[in-house]
Amino acid sequence: MSQAISPLWGPSQAGVNAGAGPHFDVLEVGHPDYVALINADTAFWVLSPRAEALDYLLSGELPKTYLEKEKKLAGDLETVRFKLLTSAVYFNPTERCNLDCGYCYLPREARRTGQDMDPARLLEALDKLQDFFVSTLPEGARPQLVFHGSEPLLAKDAVFKGIEQYGDYFRFGVQTNTVLLDKEAIEFLKAHGAGIGISLDGPTPEVADRTRRTWGGSGVFAQTVKVLEELVGYPGLNIITTVTKENVRSLPELVDFYHDRGVTNALFNPVRGTQLGGRNLMPDQTELAHYFFAALDRTFELYEKTGRKLVIGNFANLLLGLVAPGARRLMCDISPCGGGRCFFAVGASGEVAPCSEFLGLPEFHGGNLFTDSIKDLLATPAFKQVTTRMTENLEPCKRCAVRHFCGAPCPAEVYAFNGSLDAPAPLCDFYAAQARYAFKVIADGRLDALLWDGWKDGLEEIVVM
């Protein structure tokens, strides 16, 4: 007499976590009703009712429906990780800076006494960059070129000549400390549709001036706020707050400060420890998580109260990484990171590095813009070290459920800490906490409130469950 054969002894495709079946991790997200079930390889996730998570995993329904969409999910992630074209440049037209911020990623001596790129040289560089992008991007594409620093407005004549001459091709931006951003300069940049990024580290001079000071030690809070108030409403305004141990406790208050002034978009970037100054200013990770999430909670409270959003761009980008990985804009929290593949950086002597963070690390320079082919530069071993760094090859990232929502940033910082790229993020605990918080935001129904309006435009939904 024959007996029914147990499905446990059958093909494994429909069962989880063995053989060819899909693998799902269970992640606590700090929500009373939900836990996350995550397939780390495709960055697919389901928030399951807490009490039913085992049923979802073991009933066969989740693995079956997942496998039907697996190829599409994997392809989407594959595209954003490996198939994007290089389409942006961070361009330092001078080594010098009129400030001496404690955490700058560029060496101090170069910022004090370094050289500028003269206008003719800068135009030559833009010409070469344009030739490269015309040959590599689809017709009509407009690459982004961000004048960055040091302080790019110390080379204002060259920068503005470049914007005038190449403004129809590049989408330009200028990231500035505002000291030299007078009314005339603002009008020029607005007239040319250039993005204007400004840096502010706190809601009061007592906080902001701790890290952003002139060489003589004076703060620039008042000047920065004056410029900020002149620029509010300009669609190209972007504000960067570098989060350090000196200002981390002020983040919720800073949200109110920005919101009160009508700011709609800001970045709260944890400081990179690539250079010693930054390393010494890194906040404690637990404290960073606490105040960073408190600041995000505050943006939600203000949105509910006023109907006006203040989007914290780096967190919004992480949310996009969860719900639409291919639509993310920032490429620090995915691996390989965007350095050397989505963008690269050009220093004031024409040296080319995968990212601005690597400009102070000559061993990662691929060559020189004026003497080498850009295509060849991007393929050098120096660049390949960065563009092939993948979390699935790192310990402990290869076992981490949120490795594609983190990316183990930043390789420059990791190298500075370890002398190698094969290590996790120095802020690993913070990034894991941030992923948990992001899932909690979704479980709480706050996704749209913390993302840019229109984030779904042009996207196609994949329905798995």
């Binding site: 931006g173 993005g195 990985p325 291919g326 996207l459 994949i462």
Partner: protein, 37 residues
């Protein structure tokens, strides 16, 4: 944390972005677009 059987529905949100060859991926120094394409 609640342990009882929940009436909550599972949540899964995922969208794809068709690659158009013109996506700009930036570093943590994001620049907003003043002038759209």
């Amino acid at each position: 944390m609640a342990k009882d059987k929940s009436s909550k529905k599972p949540i899964s949100i995922r969208y794809t972005c068709a690659p158009d060859g013109d996506q700009v991926g930036l570093s943590h120094y994001l620049m907003a677009d003043a002038k759209k394409k």
